[in-house]
Subunit: 200 residues, 2 copies
DNA sequence: CGGTCTCTTGACGGAGTTCAAAGCTAGTGG
DNA sequence: CCACTAGCTTTGAACTCCGTCAAGAGACCG
């Protein structure tokens, strides 16, 4: 099974591609393995690709004026990540995309992008649905930021992604959830007593 | 000039439709005028349409557990609004779409939706870009919620949309920006003294 | 007019931040 | 294999932004 299979099976959940079209798409995908802390995009660069995560984890973050890092998205297995605004408008990005762990990705470059949508129109529909999902998810996140306390957000997230939470540094989790690492540490201190009745 | 012209000129900014295709799309659009406080979608209903705002203003909000209203989006002239998640998955919505003022809209019903994407494939591309824009905008909003204080958010928003801010009740603005009406009132009290040197 | 909805003002309280210091852990090089 | 360093996590005390509660003042509408 080749590296592209995971993407194809993802696409099949939303649309159908003929064998030739899969083949054509295949020739435009670039497989890459990057190491922890490697960058796919850095501030001020123009984003020129979409990235599909096969394994590992990416983070999409910004350096704020007050000099620290605000994570806006994680890219995990089966997700597309990019700075879509920079990509579409060919404007320098304000964001960074960096590997949290060693990560395998498929790259779709902008140079192939227009042509690919012409020759494989099903991709229009596929990416329309991807964007719609991403948009719905981020509206949901806005709602949670506005309606829930930091503690509720932490509990909800750890319950929803118990394994993922184990794999990323806590300061990244805190940043993503919208509070300080110190506060997260305090929360953990409180909770761990409750749901760890077994000895360490 | 007919009611559909504003949408067509919006579509032309992103793609090109032949005259027949414009014609075909036209037959699928329904124009509607709704009054202040009328609903296009209510909690527990399945959302079965996309709405394009011609004039007026819609709000997309949720009734929270603690019994008040959290506004997540405003729909203003030239924007599409819908509960895309409910629409796509045919699940009951958790949100409401209501007119803030008397509002004119174009409606695209789900019953025409699949067929329309087949016969006018350019719409795939158009809506892909709409979703991408909406997603980018909502990521930006997440960033502002996480990085800026309530006061900064208020100032940024009133500077960006000075005329819009005049037209919506302040409690809606406060909800959208993520703080209480009381706090907004306090901010205004502070600021109005500064940039209103002319007499009331 | 009288009632309802919206905006204002102020006192108080609490969730979460900031600052600072110390404890851990893992990677690195000698 | 151990010592050192750098990065991460923990802890606690002081502080602050913003929410909550409550009461009053306008404003709009039948």
């Amino acid at each position: 099974m080749n590296e592209h299979e995971m993407l194809f099976s993802h696409i099949r959940r939303f649309t159908t591609l003929s064998a030739d079209k899969e083949e054509l798409l295949s020739t435009r995908l670039k497989y890459k393995k990057i190491g922890r802390k490697d960058y796919l995009l850095q501030e001020f660069q123009i984003c020129n690709a979409y990235y599909f995560v096969l394994s590992g984890c990416l983070r999409y973050y910004r350096n704020t004026n007050n000099g620290f890092e605000q994570i806006l998205q994680f890219g995990i297995q089966g997700w597309w990540l990019s700075d879509f605004h920079s990509f579409e408008n060919q404007k320098p990005s304000e964001y960074n995309i960096q590997a949290v762990h060693d990560t395998e990705i498929l790259i779709l470059y902008r140079s192939d992008y227009e042509e690919l949508f012409d020759s494989v129109p099903e991709l229009n529909s596929y990416f329309r649905l991807m964007m719609q999902r991403a948009y719905s998810a981020s509206l949901k996140k806005i709602e949670l930021l506005l309606c829930e306390s930091a503690e509720e957000r932490y509990l909800r997230f750890t319950r929803s992604f118990p394994e993922f939470v184990q794999t990323v540094p806590q300061y990244m989790l805190a940043s993503f959830l919208g509070f300080t690492p110190q506060f997260l540490s305090m929360l953990r201190g409180k909770k761990d007593i409750i749901h760890t009745n077994n000895i360490k």
